[in-house]
């Protein structure tokens, strides 16, 4: 059989070809227009293909060409600041080729193959190199050095190495066995890139969001799931993470979501400054946008494209964060393809392999020793959009079984305009034990204890609230009323955070700690004042407390917070004498 066949059947994005030799996951070109597709099933002579572009107008009998390659991404200098569709075609190039509407049959290089980069060699002639070893540096953006690595499968002795200006397809290094290396390499998206070993995570991914960093921290190299109904702020949370988390590189996958939201990100990111480096955020970002109305098969591929790019940067020794918004759309793409294949469905029509695919995807997260011995990590944060907000559905459950951090968004909180609408009672993180040492060493010795006190107060509040619902708050003893007041302060002053506010959107981790301490100081001062006869009403209404709370929206809060707390405790102490 040859590598050319003909179309037998077309049903939406699924095309069947006959007369072609094919292997699973071979990339094929379908029809006269050469639409890109991938072999996903073989039946005797017939190969079933999922096509990444719209298939209307295609007829049986048109040619199909097998490229004999698997779906791969191009990796090399030029990736950063790019915005791709699900199969790594740059959207700006598509606009140039086909105008504002995405038509089909257009091929585009992942990045400019002609662009000249300055290659600085890091090895010399005669050096032994192994797969994954860094052979040279390219300053890709102001903040990021792109490390050129030996492809994972190659190794040998360096016969020659260049230095100076090259484009990504020119050979920069030759090994004794004749292997030529360019700055660009390819990697199949469905195969995880190799590494030496996985480490246990011990450093938090600091996000600048108080509820996340303080109560439910995520480790670099960890995986988190954010399930939530619509309107609860999944996308805003994901975008905040992309903006402010202290990862060195960010891969943002807009998977089956709104077009206008991607546009917002595209408009906003070039103007935003990374609080950790002071450089534009775009310089550390790769974006993948496959909106809900773009072809469904490309949506299925988009998360793999994204995570392969993330792993590539991890192999250079970087900490990479990957946001996938939303993994439910990816699962639905699998469901749609599966139903076109007439596969026997599992739960809710999803294919039976859904949970294993989800697990495989999240398992590509991790902190690793790279092939060259560096320390790198990929942190994966996946949004989940459960129908009706009910997380007993298969995608949420498949995700929760594998991730260690669960940030549960709550429609009720969103309705109260409590943002981020993360429910502090049912969310969890399994990382505190492994991260506590870091917090003790870098923030404060008593950081874990302060966290326990804060979350304990919230827990007590929820129990008290049940009583209040029945009898009203006035029926409680004053010390419990004070606890309610302190918990309200935690919620309104600490947990609520305005993701759109210039100052409040990002909260330094040191400041987070001091704000938490301020709340505890209030509690202590109020308790001792009330023990000495002060009235609850006077204590909670001291003006300096609302000043303290309002001031968090001002710049330089970290410089004044301690003195404001002193003023507040003094005023509270004064309420004793008034009586």
């Amino acid at each position: 059989m040859s590598n050319e066949g003909v179309i037998y059947r077309i049903s939406g994005p699924v095309v069947t070809a006959t007369g072609m030799s094919a292997a699973m996951y071979d990339v094929v070109r379908v029809g006269h227009e050469g639409l890109m597709g991938e072999v996903i099933e073989l039946h005797g002579e017939k190969a079933v293909i999922q096509v990444y572009e719209d298939t209307s107008g295609i007829r049986p009998g048109e040619p199909v060409l097998n490229t004999q390659e698997t779906l791969s991404v191009s990796l090399g200098p030029g990736l950063l600041t790019q915005i791709y569709d699900g199969i790594q075609r740059p959207l700006p190039t598509l606009e140039k080729e086909m105008g504002v509407f995405i038509t089909r049959g257009v091929d585009a290089d992942a990045f400019d193959l002609e662009k000249i980069w300055t290659f600085e060699p890091q090895v010399a002639v005669g050096d032994e190199v192994v797969g994954g070893q860094v052979i040279g540096h390219v300053q890709e953006t102001e903040t990021i050095i792109h490390k050129i690595m030996v492809p994972p499968t190659a190794s040998g002795t360096v016969k020659s190495i260049e230095s100076g200006d090259f484009n990504v397809t020119q050979t920069v290094c030759v090994l004794e066995d004749g292997t030529e290396m360019q700055m660009m390499q390819k990697w199949p998206v469905r195969t995880p890139r190799p590494f030496q070993q996985k480490y246990a995570p011990d450093t938090p991914l600091v996000t600048g969001m108080r509820i996340l960093d303080f109560l439910f921290p995520l480790a670099k190299g960890g995986a988190a799931g954010i399930p939530g109904p619509f309107g609860s702020g999944k996308t805003v949370t994901q975008q905040s993470l992309a903006k402010y988390s202290d990862a060195q590189l960010v891969v943002y996958i807009g998977c089956g979501e709104r077009g206008n939201e991607m546009t917002e990100v595209l408009d906003e990111f070039p103007h935003l400054i990374d609080p950790n480096t002071g450089k534009p955020l775009m310089e550390r970002t790769v974006m993948i946008a496959n909106t809900s109305n773009m072809p469904v098969a490309a949506r299925e591929a988009s998360v793999y494209t994204g995570i392969t790019i993330a792993e590539y940067f991890r192999d250079m020794g970087y900490d990479v964060a990957l946001m996938a918004d939303s993994t439910s759309r990816w699962a639905e793409a699998m469901r749609e393809i599966s139903s076109r294949l007439e596969e026997m469905p599992g739960e809710e029509g999803y294919p039976a392999y859904l949970s294993s695919r989800i697990a495989e995807f999240y398992e590509r997260a991790g902190r690793v020793e790279t092939l060259s011995g560096d320390d790198g990590s990929v942190t994966v944060i996946g949004a989940v959009s459960p129908p009706g907000g009910d997380i007993s559905e298969p995608v949420s459950q498949g995700t929760l079984r594998i991730v260690k951090v669960f940030w549960g968004l709550d429609a009720g909180l969103a309705r109260q305009r409590h943002f981020p609408a993360i429910n502090w009672l049912n969310s969890y993180s399994l990382y505190p034990q492994s991260l506590d040492q870091w917090f003790r060493d870098n923030i404060s010795q008593d950081f874990p204890e302060v966290r326990t006190q804060i979350s304990g107060l919230l827990q007590i509040e929820s129990e008290l609230q049940e009583i209040v619902q029945l009898v009203g708050s006035d029926a409680l003893p004053t010390d419990q009323q004070l606890t309610l007041e302190v918990a309200r302060m935690i919620r309104e002053f600490f947990l609520q955070q305005n993701g759109f506010h210039d100052v409040d959107a990002y909260c330094d981790i040191h400041l987070q700690y001091r704000m938490a301490k301020a709340i505890l100081s209030f509690q202590d001062a109020a308790k001792s004042a009330m023990a000495n006869g002060a009235q609850l009403n006077d204590v909670v209404n001291v003006p300096s407390r609302s000043d303290l709370m309002r001031a968090r929206l001002e710049k330089g809060y970290i410089d004044v917070i301690d003195s404001m707390v002193e003023t507040m405790t003094a005023e509270i102490a004064d309420t004793v004498e008034e009586n």
Partner: protein
């Protein structure tokens, strides 16, 4: 291939016709069927292979037998478009319904439409003043947005949609919208209501109507919104108009989708709706927006009725995940006699942040909106508590908030069907109403705005 007539029908099932042994037929190709009694029906290819072709018939399959002749037209479904469309009433398949002449086409546009490249979109940020306080303050509409109305049977969603269509304008501008109205399976009565209102206000001259009524073929509903959006895209992106697309009722559309899925024996998703319904709805909703280098825009107002008032039903649920917010109509408020009965608490406009503030509406808009919302939400919550413990158990703050929730509904929400409040009037009204609450409880208002706008300070 056009012109060759096949008489090879093997099966007819629901809206689908199966036939074998044809020349290669394109996926999505348009088909005409000639019945033995001379009737012509139209359809579209859903599945094609060397052996078997599945055709979905728009007008229903009644009277189709195995003798019917099937002709493949060699092309996918296209709508003839030109500016002549404006002022016309067409049926659900794009044929004149008003007795007027056929549309003379400037060009023929593929009705499936192509996805807008996200890179080529322009962020919507022009505030549209609807004159309805609840919407303008709490769920501000932006040009290029898709903002559905989540309603239920027996609620006045049509009045609200029409009021918006009548009053919507850019602030400080007379620029009008072209209304593209798309009816899917609504009753003749509802349709007459829409039409006569558009006629009464003269808006019909600036509108295009695509009408598929309840007794028209259900399958036709699959293409009706696509025709409407194709017309909208042409008017917006070729002819520079600002287009407001109102479609009603999305629930009927989804039911038609389910009907076809069932006939094809597809594996159903939740409540029997097809697993690809999310993608299918996205192909409609995502056709809203503004693109770089084009002057026009498409703003969408889909109306859907939630079966059993259930917002977690797949239709509102999937819609909510695609659209940029939602306006929720409340039966409770309606029964209290409040019009428009918009429940602002579950309502949301995702694009609001980009269109309000000093430059577009007023500097205090965001704070006022947050405060009004928060106070109302707390007041509503207290009603539940009062029912158990009585009003006397409330403290001063709670009492004020409880009273405010009533005022909010009576004075802020309530307005007449032709009352067109400017955003300044709305904001001033908010300040007046909020003055019933002690300032120290209004924690979401910045001091600057209190100094500037609070009635106590203004006087």
């Amino acid at each position: 291939m056009t012109g060759k007539e096949y008489r090879t029908i093997t099966d007819v099932k629901g809206p689908l016709v199966f036939l074998n042994k044809t020349e290669p037929v394109a996926f999505g190709e348009i088909v005409t069927l000639r019945l033995s009694n001379g009737t012509i029906k139209n359809g579209q290819v859903l599945d094609t292979s060397d052996d078997l072709v599945i055709v979905q018939v728009f007008e229903g399959t009644s009277k189709i037998d195995r003798e019917a002749g099937v002709t493949f037209m060699g092309d996918v479904f296209k709508l003839p478009v030109s500016t002549d469309l404006v002022g016309r009433i067409l049926d659900g398949a794009g044929r004149p319904r008003d007795g007027g002449p056929e549309i003379v086409a400037d060009e023929k546009a593929d009705i499936i439409g192509a996805a807008i490249n996200p890179y080529s979109r322009q962020s919507p940020n022009d505030f549209i003043q609807t004159g309805v306080s609840a919407i303008d303050l709490c769920t501000s509409l932006v040009r290029g947005q898709k903002l559905p109305i989540f309603s239920a049977s027996g609620l006045p969603h049509n009045d609200i949609a029409l009021q918006i269509a009548r009053q919507a304008k850019l602030k400080d501008s007379d620029e009008e919208f072209i209304v593209v109205f798309c009816a899917m399976g609504i009753t003749a009565e509802e349709y007459n209501f829409f039409r006569s209102d558009l006629e009464r206000t003269g808006a019909l001259e600036n509108a295009v109507l695509f009408v598929n009524l309840a007794d028209d073929p259900a399958v036709e509903r699959i293409i009706t919104p696509r025709l409407a959006l194709t017309a909208a895209e042409y008017l917006a992106f070729e002819k520079d108009y600002h287009v407001l697309v109102i479609y009603t009722d999305m629930t009927n559309y989804c039911d038609a989708l389910r009907q076809i899925g069932a006939a094809r024996e597809e594996v159903p998703g939740r409540r029997g709706y097809p697993g690809y319904m999310y993608t299918d709805l996205a192909m409609l909703y995502e056709r809203a927006g503004i693109v770089k280098g084009k002057k026009g825009s498409i703003t969408q107002f889909p109306i859907l009725t939630m079966p059993g008032d259930d917002i977690t039903h797949p239709i509102p649920d999937l819609s909510g995940y695609i659209t940029e917010g939602q306006i929720v109509i409340s039966r409770e408020l309606h029964q209290q006699g409040i019009y428009p009965p918009i429940n602002v608490l579950p309502s949301l406009s995702r694009l609001m942040g980009s269109c309000i503030g000093e430059k577009t509406t007023r500097e205090d808009h965001k704070s006022v909106s947050d405060q009004m919302y928060a106070a109302y939400a707390q007041g509503r919550e207290l009603r539940g508590l009062v029912a158990i413990v009585g009003e006397d158990a409330l403290n001063e703050r709670d009492k004020q908030l409880l009273d405010f929730s009533g005022v909010f509904e009576d004075k802020f929400l309530r307005q007449t069907r032709d009352e067109d409040r400017s955003i300044e009037e709305t904001l001033d009204l908010c300040w007046t109403l909020m003055s019933s609450i002690d300032t120290k409880y209004l924690v979401r208002l910045e001091q600057t705005w209190i100094d500037k706008y609070h009635p106590d300070n203004k006087a």
